[in-house]
């Protein structure tokens, strides 16, 4: 199935979607990598205020190339980064912020799948490396936070996107994890190969 979603989305929208479906999203997407996940969780646990309501946006594992033209930031290239690096943070992140959609590449593991099931969220993959395709769907850089401290790749870039995709859902809110299934099958096949 193919879905076009307008952010923010609720539990009902998420429950319609199954692993293997394709989605396109319109609304606000915020980039966050290792450092941003870590910092957001730490600030929350210290009871401090965060610059963004993460429940209303999609999180994008991405470290973009951005350039300043006059007063405005312009996205040059913005493909996804490897999501498995964020596996150690994602359960805690989703639990605290109720983010419904996580976007990245390469798939995520057991803990993220558990979070998606418990808190009704999905993980979707954007084609790795397809940075110009992604940049074309980004209409505007709305804001940026933590740039000074974390640097260009790790900062929180708030992006207005239109029909951002195709995104392949690999983890749904029912606990299915497509990339893990592919990997388990591959392991079985590899075991039987004799050289």
């Amino acid at each position: 199935m193919e879905y076009r979603l307008n952010l923010p989305v609720g539990e009902d929208d998420i429950l319609k979607i199954k692993a293997g479906d394709t989605i396109y999203i319109t609304g606000l997407v915020v980039t966050a990598r290792d450092e941003a996940h870590k910092k957001a969780i730490e600030l929350y646990d210290e009871g401090k205020e965060l610059p963004i309501d993460f429940s209303k946006v999609a999180i994008f594992h991405c470290g973009p190339i951005v350039k300043k033209e006059g007063d405005e930031w312009k996205i040059v290239a913005a493909g996804p980064t490897t999501s498995s690096r964020m596996e150690i943070f994602e359960y805690d992140f989703i639990k605290r912020f109720n983010t419904r959609i996580i976007i990245g590449k390469g798939g995520m593991g057991e803990k993220t799948a558990k979070a998606c099931k418990e808190f009704k969220a999905i993980y979707a993959a954007f084609t790795g490396g397809a940075a110009v395709l992604a940049a074309n769907a980004i209409k505007k850089v709305k804001d940026v936070f933590w740039l000074e401290e974390l640097g260009m790749p790790e900062a929180l870039w708030v992006l207005e996107v239109e029909d951002f995709g195709p995104l392949t859902v690999t983890i749904d809110a029912y606990g299915r994890n497509l990339t893990e299934e592919v990997k388990e099958k591959a392991k079985e096949i590899a075991k039987k190969i004799e050289f």
């Binding site: 293997g20 394709t22 991405c62 470290g63 973009p64 190339i65 350039k67 040059v76 290239a77 913005a78 493909g79 980064t81 490897t82 498995s84 690096r85 590449k105 390469g106 798939g107 993959a125 084609t127 790795g128 490396g129 397809a130 940075a131 110009v132 395709l133 940049a135 074309n136 640097g151 260009m152 790749p153 195709p166 392949t168 690999t170 497509l178 990339t179 592919v182 990997k183 099958k185 591959a186 392991k187 096949i189 590899a190 190969i193 050289f195």
Partner: protein
């Protein structure tokens, strides 16, 4: 000469991050034609992205990599003294002008240098060769695929069979992380450092090009087919093409050691070369 070369190096880097080599693109297209869903959508997106990057003169991937250089310098090449500085200057210039993503981070402070230079970065592999010319190749090496590179010191008793098994198991474990379909460089033998250098250098070979040693060439094909038969597929979503090619380079080993290094390169297998002659003429080569 230094400034002229720095400009040419900056152009070379720009072309490398914007324009994917034809052999790689052809292999991706062939894979797409062969594929079914959901891998077909992934490969179509990759091909579309390659086209857009060229049209809009933008880097095909936001990770413009660690600037890695291979220099083959003739013993009698007259401009030896300017090469290093011209490369560093070229990297700074390209970072600003293309622009590239700043990818050089201090390991202690975590501070990004902002211009893709730093300790040992850009990294230059030097090789002295016969002649009066100099060849410079840039390989912008992405971090996602580099994280799936590895080295293992195998027990010589496991033999070449053990080497193949290790490579297969590793690539299955890497799954969708290095942005498949990938190109895999393998270095066997030497010491640990030699194996890794050979593995990475093997990535410079064109897709489809086989090793001159027939047995090694056969091993490359055997591993290519074995990895693809596991069905990891484009981006790890399942499919027929997990690797576009496997390139192996070898060195003699110590009797007690069997080093195997694996260098994984994402589908954005970026590389461009130029040549300089003794008159200081510079031109791009395929």
């Amino acid at each position: 000469m230094k400034e002229k070369l720095a400009n040419e190096i900056a152009n070379l880097i720009a072309n490398a991050v914007i324009d994917l080599p034809k052999d790689v693109e052809d292999a991706l297209r062939k894979a797409m034609e062969n594929e079914e869903e959901p891998a077909k959508t992934q490969l179509k997106a990759i091909l579309k992205n390659i086209e857009l990057a060229r049209q809009q003169r933008k880097p095909m991937c936001q990770d413009t990599g660690t600037p890695t250089f291979y220099v083959e310098m003739g013993y009698n090449f007259p401009y030896k003294d300017v090469i290093r500085e011209a490369i560093i200057e070229g990297v700074r210039k390209a970072t600003k002008e293309v622009p590239l993503r700043p990818n050089a981070v201090d390991i202690l402070t975590g501070k990004n240098s902002g211009d893709n230079t730093g300790l040992h970065i850009p990294y230059i592999n030097w090789e002295l060769v016969d002649g009066e010319e100099c060849k410079i190749t840039v390989m912008p090496k992405g971090g996602g695929s580099e994280n799936m590179s590895t080295l293992k010191m195998l027990k010589p008793g496991v033999g070449i069979k053990g080497v193949k098994k290790f490579v297969l198991e590793w690539m299955v474990e890497a799954a969708g992380n290095p942005c498949p379909p990938t190109v895999v460089g393998i270095g066997i033998g030497g010491g640990s450092d030699i194996a890794m250098k050979l593995a990475k250098k093997a990535l410079l070979r064109k897709v489809g090009e086989r090793h001159s040693n027939k047995e090694i060439a056969k091993m490359e094909e055997e591993l290519l087919n074995a990895i693809n038969s596991t069905g990891i597929g484009a981006m790890g979503l399942g499919g027929k093409t997990t690797v576009l090619d496997v390139h192996i380079e070898i060195a003699h080993r110590h009797p007690a050691s069997l080093p195997v290094a694996i260098a994984v390169q994402c589908w954005a297998n970026r590389r461009k070369s130029l040549k300089i002659d003794k008159e200081g003429r510079i031109w791009n080569i395929d």
